[in-house]
């Protein structure tokens, strides 16, 4: 059985006034134990929102509207309060994009560790100051930081060091799933490389399941075994990482790949993706990528393509991965959108 299984996850941002933004739409997802999965897409495609939903970190105005998230046999989507906290202790953590914002500027690194260890101490577990300090030192060692960092304040650390501290904090409770939300985006290339190497080594050693959210396909391909490509709130491709550079893919995936080139090549030609992603407050009519897609056909405009086999993975494309069960493709999302429209906007916060 997989460690985490998400079924029909829908997340909407519910503003005080106006339209709901459906940021994650009908996502089904399985994460196996010890797997390293990448989640890529342009900004606003819902990748971070999905990562937050999987770890139950969504805060209003974001709301998990629908779906089940089964972590190790328990549906965490419906848990609240103390039960959720206990479940968190057993298993999942999130590393945020910027270590700068994730750490409390007026507390030392040691205080951060103490907070987590105290808040989630198991019955009978010692949390004497000395023990917690020792644990903090051990965790810092794992992310290749000096013990001296324990007594430092976040502002005394460089961006790379802060990000390492954030990773060490995520490791503190020995989670089985860690979601890394753009862990290296704010860092310099060299530092980025070093931090990614640490993440890879840790994942290999401790065998936790990792989800790496990034807009940088390069970083993702270097580290992960499997890549999920998101577009307009849906997963539109799911492939082994090593297959992504060969063969045919979802046209969006191919377009993303064309945004990269080797700076050492004889001729370097970069192409962007013309147009912009669809308005997520509107229900999907057909394939969300169709207006920007060179391969779009008639059915792309009308029917939302389901994930269908392509190569060793799956893709949601009428052209590249034609599905035999087109009729089943109109997911819950459309019905859900229609249902909440009258009056739904004014109902919440």
């Amino acid at each position: 059985m997989s460690l985490l299984s998400a079924q029909g996850v829908n997340v909407a941002y519910v503003p005080a006034r106006g339209q709901r933004i459906w940021s994650v739409r009908d996502v089904d997802l399985e994460l196996e134990e010890g797997e390293f999965v990448g989640l890529v897409g342009e900004s606003g495609c819902g990748k971070s929102t999905l990562g937050y939903a999987l770890t139950r970190m969504l805060r209003p105005p974001a709301r998990l509207e629908d779906g089940r998230i089964i972590f190790d046999g328990t549906d965490i989507a419906s848990l609240t309060g103390e039960e959720l906290r206990r479940q968190r202790r057993n298993g999942f953590a999130l590393v945020l994009q910027s270590g700068m914002n994730a750490l409390n500027p007026v507390r030392t690194v040691n205080n951060h560790f103490a907070d987590i260890l105290k808040a989630h101490a198991r019955e009978g577990e010692s949390h004497s100051k000395a023990d917690m300090r020792a644990r903090g030192a051990e965790l810092l060692g794992k992310v290749e930081l000096d013990v001296g960092v324990l007594d430092r304040y976040p502002h005394e650390l460089s961006g790379g060091m802060r990000q390492r501290v954030a990773i060490a904090l995520a490791l503190a409770l020995e989670p089985r799933l860690i979601v890394f939300d753009e862990p290296t985006t704010a860092l310099d290339v060299m530092v980025q490389r070093a931090v990614m190497k640490t993440i890879r080594d840790l994942q290999r050693e401790q065998k936790f399941t990792a989800v790496l959210i990034s807009h940088d396909l390069g970083v993702v391909l270097e580290s992960t075994q499997r890549v999920l490509v998101m577009y307009a709130g849906r997963i539109i491709e799911d492939q082994p990482s090593r297959d992504l550079l060969v063969g045919e893919h979802h046209p969006y995936t191919e377009a993303l790949l064309q945004c990269y080139a080797d700076p050492r090549a004889e001729t370097v030609e970069l192409s962007g993706i013309p147009g912009s992603p669809p308005d997520l407050s509107l229900p999907l009519e057909g394939c969300a990528f169709a207006p920007r897609c060179p391969l779009a056909i008639d059915i792309s405009q009308e029917v939302v393509p389901p994930l269908a086999p392509l190569g060793r993975g799956r893709a949601a494309c009428h052209v590249r991965a034609p599905s035999t069960v087109e009729a089943a493709s109109n997911g819950k999302h459309r019905a859900a959108t229609v249902a909440v429209e009258p009056g739904g906007a004014s109902r919440v916060s």
Binding site: V189, L245, G247, H249, Y260, D262, P263, E269, G272
Partner: protein
């Protein structure tokens, strides 16, 4: 000095929003520029004896990791910082000696594009207001003329129809669109030199190509010089002809961008090249140039893409 300035760019004269600048773009000569910052305990040498020349209309990239001094050089060129020693000469202007009024006139000719399009625009002002300011301040245009020019500028940077974008607030624009507004603002006073500090690093990969293309195109059409600061070697390759590699405030390597990237001489350049996380460049040891990289060309079918190097995306669990 102010007399010298006026001789080349009279303030009342409006440079065209499109087409080549109506006066010659002078070269930029940086000679032995050094900048040290004095801390409480120690001195930090941010830029150490850097010399280079930018020919009129050239595009030069300045690459290096954070702390290599590339932004300090940019600040010295735009006059925000004064070099501790050395000179920076733009045409007949000695930039390191400028102050207040003359510096303001200098900014008429040298403009900067900032890294963060989210922070560089005042969230309380419309695009039109943001772009009208430099037109009125630097060019002394009337409100009506400024409005016409704003529309021209928006068209130049590809934000069309201009009438639709002019009344928008920054939060109504995407990152790529905001960066185009920042570029339009830099172009407003018809500068001869644009210093772009990591202009695409905050943007999605899918938007980068568009902004990079715009920069290249503007340089060509207007004949202005471009100093492009980045740690991203791929964008340096796309935008510029010459490259300067900075490490600890010193230039460790320089030359034609393509040559330097294909045959790096300095260890640090090699290290930078290897740090590029890029599906095509992630081949350890560096595959022979050209061989591994026919894939990204959009005219080819994806099946021509290079076979995945097994070491590129090795599943982490299999070691």
């Amino acid at each position: 000095m102010s007399a010298e300035l006026e001789s080349t760019a009279p303030v009342g004269e409006v440079p065209p929003a499109r087409g080549r600048a109506d006066h010659d773009v002078p070269p930029l000569v940086v000679q032995g520029a050094t900048k040290t910052y004095r801390g409480r305990r120690e001195q930090v040498v941010a830029v150490d004896d850097v010399s280079f020349t930018m020919a009129p209309g050239s595009a030069v990239s300045l690459v290096g990791a954070s702390g290599s001094g590339k932004s300090t050089i940019a600040k010295m060129i735009t006059g925000q910082e004064k070099p501790t020693s050395g000179t920076i000469i733009f045409g007949d202007i000695e930039v390191n000696k400028l102050r207040r009024g003359s510096l303001r006139k200098y900014h008429h000719r040298v403009q900067m594009i900032f890294q963060d399009p989210y922070g560089a625009l005042n969230p309380l002002h419309t695009v039109e207001y943001t772009l009208t300011r430099p037109c009125q301040n630097f060019l002394g245009l009337s409100a009506r003329d400024a409005r016409t020019r704003v529309n021209e500028l928006l068209e130049t940077v590809g934000l069309t129809p201009a009438e639709q974008f002019a009344p928008k607030m920054p939060h109504q624009l995407s990152g790529g669109q905001r960066q185009r507004v920042v570029i339009a603002r830099a172009l407003a006073c018809g500068p001869d030199l644009i210093v772009a500090d990591e202009p695409v690093s905050m943007l999605d990969v899918s938007l980068r190509a568009g902004v990079l293309k715009l920069l290249g195109q503007l340089r060509e059409e207007r004949g202005l010089s471009l100093l492009y600061i980045t740690h991203d070697l791929l964008s340096a390759r796309v935008v510029t002809d010459e490259i300067l590699v900075l490490h600890h405030g010193r230039i460790v390597e320089r030359g034609v961008t393509k040559d330097v990237l294909q045959h790096p001489q300095d260890d640090y350049t090699v290290e930078l090249l290897e740090a590029v996380a890029n599906p095509y460049a992630a081949v350890p040891g560096g595959a022979p140039a050209g061989e591994s990289t026919t894939g990204p060309d959009s005219t080819e079918s994806p099946s021509d893409a290079p076979p995945a190097d097994p070491t590129v995306a090795q599943p982490a669990g299999e070691h």
